[in-house]
């Protein structure tokens, strides 16, 4: 009888599971019966790029840095990230006002503001459509027994690095077949030292002895 290795099965199972998640995302509820989302799966190489980019944002966004370090660890075991993206303009003609424009036509005429994270202004219902797809994918991952977490930081990094072409808004769902759940562990990266350091940086007057004292102790 042929023997199949565990790693091989886990990887194959993960690949199949991600396909099922894509299916769930595709068939989830969409407003206006308009399904214009684009969906790709990225694996180790691209996740590493995202991780490096996120980590490089360290000073600007500690959250992105944390998720960068996290993603770098994630790919040590079988893992994948689904990216779901869409364009920003409204297709619905709901004229709901949530975007700040009275009509969808005004929103569509408004000048596009580009940025690294996403291009705006974007239609709220288009955002909702891709995020409902993300939730359907997450629900499928949950049912299939995968570890899963939805990341906006990795999605913004993917937009910045243009991993997904021709989209304005992105959301990412990371899944893993690791031995233990790698997600939702706030003590892994934010240790006591990191907290102390952050506290000192954010509230310098708290630890300073008196007004006029220097901030850097080593000086």
């Amino acid at each position: 009888m042929a023997i199949r290795e565990m790693d091989d099965m886990l990887q194959a199972g993960l690949d199949r599971a991600v396909e099922m998640m894509a299916l769930a995302a595709q068939t989830s509820f969409k407003f206006g019966k308009r399904n214009t989302m684009k969906l790709i799966k990225i694996t180790n190489e691209e996740i590493e790029q995202l991780a490096e980019y996120c980590f490089s944002l360290g000073d600007m966004s500690p959250l992105a840095a944390r998720d960068g370090r996290f993603a770098a660890d994630l790919i040590k075991e079988p893992a994948a990230v689904l990216l779901i993206g869409d364009k920003r303009q409204s297709l619905f003609n709901y004229n709901c006002g949530a975007c700040g424009y009275r009509t969808c036509a005004e929103l569509n005429k408004a000048e596009m503001v580009e940025s690294l994270t996403s291009n705006g202004p974007s239609c709220i219902f288009r955002n909702i459509n891709i995020h409902m797809a993300a939730d359907a994918a997450a629900a499928m991952a949950w049912r299939l027994g995968l570890h899963c977490r939805v990341f906006s930081t990795l999605a913004f990094a993917a937009k910045a690095l243009e991993i997904m072409p021709d989209v304005d808004i992105i959301v990412s769902i990371a899944v893993s077949a690791a031995k233990v759940d790698p997600f939702f562990d706030r003590h892994k990266f934010w240790t006591q030292d990191v907290w102390d350091q952050t506290f000192k940086k954010e509230f310098p007057t708290f630890t300073r002895g008196f007004i006029g004292a220097v901030e850097d102790e080593d000086w």
Partner: protein
Amino acid sequence: MSVERTLKQFEEDRKEAAQIAARMLLASAVTSPRVGGVGECTVHIIDDECDIEDLCQAVEEMSSENKAWEFFMRDAAMIRDADAVLVVTSLRSLTDPSDINCNLCGKLTCEYLRKEDKLPLEPGVAYTGPLCTFRAMNISYAVDGIATLARNLGIDYGVYWSAGAAAMRMGILPKATGFALAVAISVTEKSPFRDIPVKYGEINERTMNDRIIRRLWPQFRSIYS
């Protein structure tokens, strides 16, 4: 005896099943992923027939305010057939941008979004944007949490923004609500939310009953009694 007791029992149980399901769907909505894991969405169950009727009338009233909202009449007709309606709200999208400068709203930074004038609350405006899109889209996880479990439970559902906006107008939601969506659920043989006829707002079971049976019945009764 015109209607058997067991049939009455079936009708009662069917309604109770919808009410129990509504509570389970609420649990699914609350535990779905949320950015930052912070509770900023609330879910409200409307399962009283009179309250659902109030909501439907509010939706119908809004229909005439904006040309693009003509489909609200059809939505109201569908929601009337629902056994329960769950309204999901976003509490922080109106006044409290998420401070991550994501540019989904197109204002580049959250500071600029704070300075932006909101649309006035007047007829023809459903949500007083610009809202924090990053916060408002949080609601989609709650709504899809409901949809996913409803599919698993085998319960028909429909998602409506018209009823969410109408509930905001009625003042039955928390004060800080900036954005709301509604999910109607139904436990019946035929889903009232899909595959519906054209002009369903005007021509549906209720209006047809009203026009034909109820108008003819008094005469019929007086003649044949």
